[in-house]
Symmetry: none
């Protein structure tokens, strides 16, 4: 069996196992067995548990980022771009549940190796969303209402967190998961109006009872 094929099988198996168990509880034995190869071969191709994990993360984050970024047509309006990106995001996470479980489950553990790689992926997504929000602000053509970078970043984090949460929620109901389109709509429903208001300078404020 040619090396490239074997290597892909190994990564597939590793993603599966890392998703199921987490990094430290995953065992190279289980991975090798699931990959249908002997452990020395796994080591020959991928060197160590840490590198294997790194390779999994790189492969899966690239795939997810590609899916999201290529879904947003730069010609479109900001809300359409966001909407398309979200649809692509939910479609991808639903199509690759193990990959998403691996990426999302340990995104914030600091001790594990490659926590940084995971954090970077997350940052890239957040940045992408932040750009969309900023672009929407420019579409609005109201320089006065411009949000500061800090605030945009916060909004992007909120949006991404909501998306992650919805992706996980959708994946748990394996039987009757709502289609990506619907999940994306839910999220647009909750957030877009608020974003528009913000960009128009309207803020929610607590009403003294």
């Amino acid at each position: 069996m040619p090396r490239a094929v074997r290597e892909r099988q190994m990564l597939d198996a590793a993603v599966e196992v890392f998703a199921r168990r987490g990094y430290s509880a995953a065992s190279m034995d289980e991975i090798a067995e699931l990959a249908g190869a002997s452990k020395p071969l796994v080591y020959l191709y991928l060197n160590s548990k840490e590198e294997l994990y790194g390779a999994c993360i790189r492969r899966e984050s690239r795939a997810l980022l590609d899916a999201v970024q290529s879904a947003a047509d730069p010609e479109d309006s900001a809300d359409r771009r966001l909407w398309c990106g979200l649809r692509a995001f939910f479609a991808h996470t639903a199509a690759h549940p193990s990959a998403w479980a691996m990426l999302s489950c340990q995104a914030r553990i600091h001790g594990e190796p490659f926590a940084q790689a995971l954090a970077e992926l997350r940052q890239e997504i957040v940045d992408f969303v932040a750009q969309l929000i900023a672009a929407a602000g420019r579409d609005q053509e109201r320089a006065g209402a411009a949000l500061d970078a800090e605030e945009v970043s916060g909004l992007a984090h909120a949006l991404v967190g909501a998306a992650e949460s919805l992706a996980g929620w959708a994946n748990t109901r394996a039987d009757a998961a709502p289609p990506a389109k619907e999940t994306a709509a839910t999220l647009m429903n909750v957030t877009w109006a608020g974003l528009e208001n913000l960009l128009n300078g309207q803020r929610w404020a607590p009403v003294r009872p």
Copy 2:
């Protein structure tokens, strides 16, 4: 040193270490050392790694839930209740970063023991938010616009995910973390307008370009 005190020290240390490393990578040695006690004593009081983890999770989820639930005055309007709950949530997670790291980091790993307990905590929070949303719908007094349970659940998940993400984001900037009030405001800004629209029967829809 009396047992109760020691036990609390141990739980504190364990929360710290579980947060730093995750369940499986955490070692009882490290926990015992951080607690300033010997390993056998940890076992004497808390029986096993699994039970220790369980005790940590129970203690910290209860504390977080209490903080959030007791912050919302049932006499208030729905948006005020949500606002107060969020403020309490962000204040608590900021005050107990390790606890929040422990609770949030592994919320979705399935293999670990107590994944279920974690999932239940999350569900309780989601339910709490879902109630608030439903209550807001009733405040609106428009029976016709009532959202179905499924949709409310989705919205709640989105909101909770956004909150979790913001809490993590706030905690990473230890130096200049925004105050809970501000973070809560950000989240209300993004979501409340959308929720109100929904409750009024207005939905966001993609505009064909």
Copy 3:
């Protein structure tokens, strides 16, 4: 509670636990708990696991030896003395099953401490039986047929082994254990005729087919 009483409770508990688990698998915790005392007290009175075990063995072997030896009236004929000794043996082992389990189960493990003490007890019993056999030989008043010491020792070992085995067998059928008298009769039935024959110079010999 006076020391003597407590000490007896401890020995009782220890015999029970040593019988159930064997020396090394028995834990001082279990013994202390069963004795209804704290571990430090056990150590105060009995010093160490090894000494505790020694005390148990001494107490129980002395009791068993006393029972057997005091049952045989030196005025009686050899077979009566043997018969009475066996009855006493089976009665005692049936009345103190834990003690017998403790004494018999590990009689031959060499590594354990006090294996020697156990071996000595066994030797004392064997010697007692050997004396009876030798006495029976003298009763027979046939100097010519005298068995050599070696052979007598072998016979005694056989008899004692048979008795031990029967005692264990009787103890396993807790519900319907045969009375000591019957067990003793079984053993006399199998062995006495053979012994008499031997003392008369008749030996069993394989018959070429």
Copy 4:
């Protein structure tokens, strides 16, 4: 070194150590060292202390049973069969003293794992002997004197116990152990006459002085 060979070395070492120390006091470290292998290898091949013990017991009981059962020619008379079986038994236990020590030492400890397996081995031997006794009864062709099953079982237990005891006795005098043939003769001497008497309906009875 091929796996089969290594595995045998491990079993040999384990039998040795279990015999010396008993199950719970035996340490996997000592076994591995005696086997000339590392501990992980022992675990790789034999899974756990418990399974290793089980494997030892199975191997050694099978060997002993085979030796005894194949020694008795079914064409022979009952006493010859018994005699041959005993000779084989004593020869085997003398040739494999560790195995016999392991099998006999803990035959009656209840808590240990595999106590049942040991008990079953013993029962198989007892049953084998019981069959011989019953067969001897049939040879006698005196239906009237037939012993009931219960009594036969008791006799078999006595005989087996005597044999075990003699085997242990023979093994302790490593220097000048009597040959198996002699030990077997001793046992036949003590027991066969009694058995024959019983089968002829004659019982020993205490004589009132």
